[in-house]
Symmetry: D2
Subunit: 284 residues, 4 copies
């Protein structure tokens, strides 16, 4: 039985670019981590080491820096689209380009002074091929906690179940969310702000019987409020806050003192989408 090359891609990962816009005394700052992955007719380099079709990953890095100067960065989705279109359009052997971006936020302290905002990271993944363009925006490491209004009971039990049911627990998670846009023309900044606000509002306002219920509420809220979004995918680690047993010390503990546990953790993953739409895995 013979052996063949399957799906493959290559590119430059984690090019760190900071772009300062210096129009007068008041500077603006964009801080990105850009990863490029290209696919196409790349059998030659794999089978014989013929690199004719291979645009070096070093060139991809240079392109990121040159485009940051030539066109500016703007919103990460715009920058990703510009880069992805460029690689597909300019390289005959490249049929698909995927640009993944992390954007780090900075808070203004002065006309040219900034503090890194250590909260969530904004992300996007842009895919361009001959069939079309897909833009998935997202965020990671948005850590949220409700100190009450969360229950967990009525679950399946088997011989290995020891967890007590509870009508009041801490619910905490580090949100990783990605959402597919219905189009690649968009007010990206407004859309991001709107989706983020919907996610947070749903987490805060949902009286939760399970983290799955909260996940669905978050995805649903985004789709209800943001018509430009086709699908939301969420991964929510259950950052367990374990109630400490203080009874050996003659103390009760009515949901006041917790261990913030590292591992293990529950992990709840799910997608919420508009009825009739089929999941577009390649875009995510």
């Amino acid at each position: 039985m013979s052996i063949v090359l399957g799906p493959n891609q290559y590119g430059k990962a984690e090019t760190r670019v900071v772009r300062v816009v210096r129009d007068g005394a008041r500077h603006e700052l964009r801080d990105l981590n850009v990863s490029v992955a290209l696919a196409g007719d790349l059998a030659g380099t794999h089978l014989t080491g013929d690199n004719t079709a291979v645009l070096p990953t070093d060139t991809q890095k240079n392109t990121v820096y040159a485009f940051a100067k030539r066109y500016g960065i703007g919103e990460p989705e715009e920058f990703g689209l510009r880069l992805a279109r460029h690689f597909v359009a300019s390289q005959p052997s490249i049929g698909r380009a995927r640009v993944s971006i992390e954007q780090y936020a900075w808070r203004r302290l002065g006309p040219h002074s900034f503090q890194r905002d250590g909260g969530e990271t904004r992300t996007c993944a842009v895919t361009v091929d001959s069939d079309g363009e897909w833009v998935v925006s997202g965020l990671t490491d948005l850590v949220l906690l409700n100190s009450t209004d969360s229950e967990f009971w009525g679950y399946a039990k088997d011989e290995y179940t020891t967890l007590p049911e509870t009508k009041d627990r801490v619910l905490a998670t580090a949100v990783s969310a990605r959402w597919l846009h219905a189009s690649s023309t968009m007010d990206w900044a407004a859309s991001y702000d709107g989706v983020r606000a919907a996610l947070v509002a749903a987490f805060v306002e949902t009286y939760s019987l399970s983290l799955q219920q909260t996940l669905y509420a978050m995805g649903r809220r985004v789709l209800e409020e943001r018509p430009e979004i086709a699908e939301v995918r969420l991964a929510l680690p259950n950052k367990h806050h374990l109630l400490v047993d203080l009874s050996p010390f003659g103390l009760d503990n009515p949901n006041e003192v917790f261990v913030a546990a590292d591992r293990p953790y529950g992990l709840i993953e799910g997608s919420v989408l508009r009825a009739g739409a089929s999941p577009v895995d390649g875009a995510f």
Copy 2:
């Protein structure tokens, strides 16, 4: 347009279990990090918070520990299969179970003394559903370096290309490899050792014109030597070793002094499989 729940799963991630086998004075040690993900008829918990179908992730954790005692661990693939089959068989609402395991190696120092071997981590991902069973074994963080016998030239050039061609460079990577077994009955330990040896041998023995060529040679070697393997997927970061320009100091640098760079890095990803087989994405 109405809104619906899409694909979803949940489980306990990163349960750390160490199992000591104490048959007499000479102990054996297994050290695992186990993650479980279950899917099935879970609409209730998402839509209304009805947890009837939800086996708590805490129970999944308990099951890992109880099975480690009751059945021992053995090879990680065996342990993963036993756990995955258990969840699917015992929970009416669960149609698919996926168990992902990292195994950390320890080197023997004495009858009951061990040193953690900090090299690669052995991995596996076992998937069980009503259609069958899939076992993917793998490894991560196997860092390999050839200090010569690597070239890179003849590549595509555009206006952003500045990389000089080279007939001699350092080639280094941190291998992440996963391979699909043709069956779920196997001598897992022997297979792992054989695949690992094939990957290393191909890296060492390939005179490389591109990291893609090395990737393909590694996957091909596995399939040639190991009939039990159906497909190999590799992700190879190009851990760039940049030649330092010492000419300002009146020194030449004939491939002797390098910067080991962190970011950015090239990332080469690809699969190698037997002709006629179709990639089985769900197993990976």
Copy 3:
């Protein structure tokens, strides 16, 4: 020549405690990582394994949780003092206790909802022994950047110097600062806010000829504004933002596009103190 035991200490590191204060619907949250280190007459356990003098680290952990319930946490310095005094007072063999705390900030989203604030971590190190009490407060990972008003020139040059002088560069750092209080009775929250504000203001307002100059300005500003502080120690990594050479692409780059480099980095460390005071190394 005989062999003896030198200085030693032991304790429980990184006890993670979250304390919810539930006075009515509006909850408050404290989130700490507490490390205890005890020293004293501990020769027995080292030389013969006689543990009579050893209060288990597990007990230290329990004490953290019990004190969080019994007394509340309040400011981290208060909590650290209470714990350190307890160990010295209650254990005859313990002559010195040191409690180091990291406090993670949360931003309020609702009466019982919070978002983890990913910026700097507030720290303190409290030392109590028979000679007295020392409280060092601090912060880490406060990342600041000035996109102009920084020069670097006029430095020493030798045969290995290639760095071009500059009259305009990006200056960025991740501030690690620790400051010694003149007393262990203090309005800790007000003091922290004041010191933090002074550090930031000095970074923002200093036209910098070297990162050392900025460091000294930051320390000096704290001592000028905060009479309760005796000494400030700063460690400032120079998070290099390297100007990209875009000339191969026909583009100039007037301080607009930068590589945010990971390694190597400059590291500037120094202390600023009141004249006549001697550095109190044991407190830091």
Copy 4:
């Protein structure tokens, strides 16, 4: 009360240098992470931004690379001494240089092929000033485990003590060790191998009543076997392996199934030195 500059230093941290020695077909590899810190008459740059005395950290980095070519690296202690002496000798304003090095190990796979050995990292810290030279060698992340021959009982108990005494437990730690050489002329490689072997042997062979006892045995063994060593400092985290309670599942657990816990952890720190010697804190 006036404000003054206290102790300070500056330098380039984490310069990553890989040196290939290519004498014929069989290559040799050294892989280091080098950090330099210089101190001296540096008031000018702090107080006024006068950089006359400041050799740029960029120059320090260049020196690392140039020296790697010009002199080779050899053992890390040699390389550190050469660098530290150079800075003190060549820069009038620099009175003290400290070079800290991490060396990453590689295992040979072929004449020019290597695998990164992921075990412990070898370290050294070299300090040179007008009073002399101090060399501290060390290692970090050597993870050791005894699955029996460890007890812990007879300890102090107070109202917060709940830990049960045990006559049989797992003892595991990640060794961080540093040892001061009596001289700066040494067969560094042989000394390293000897010290490392002594540390491991003592861990393996000590029937342990406390981790402190094991710590002291490790330090003592080094001093007994290696006359060239003046003092050993050890930091041993107690990597707790917690026995899982399997009784709810009708299973006993005679020291067979453990949770490998992340946090919190005990931390045991101590030094062992020759009688009459005083600890030389500045060297460590």
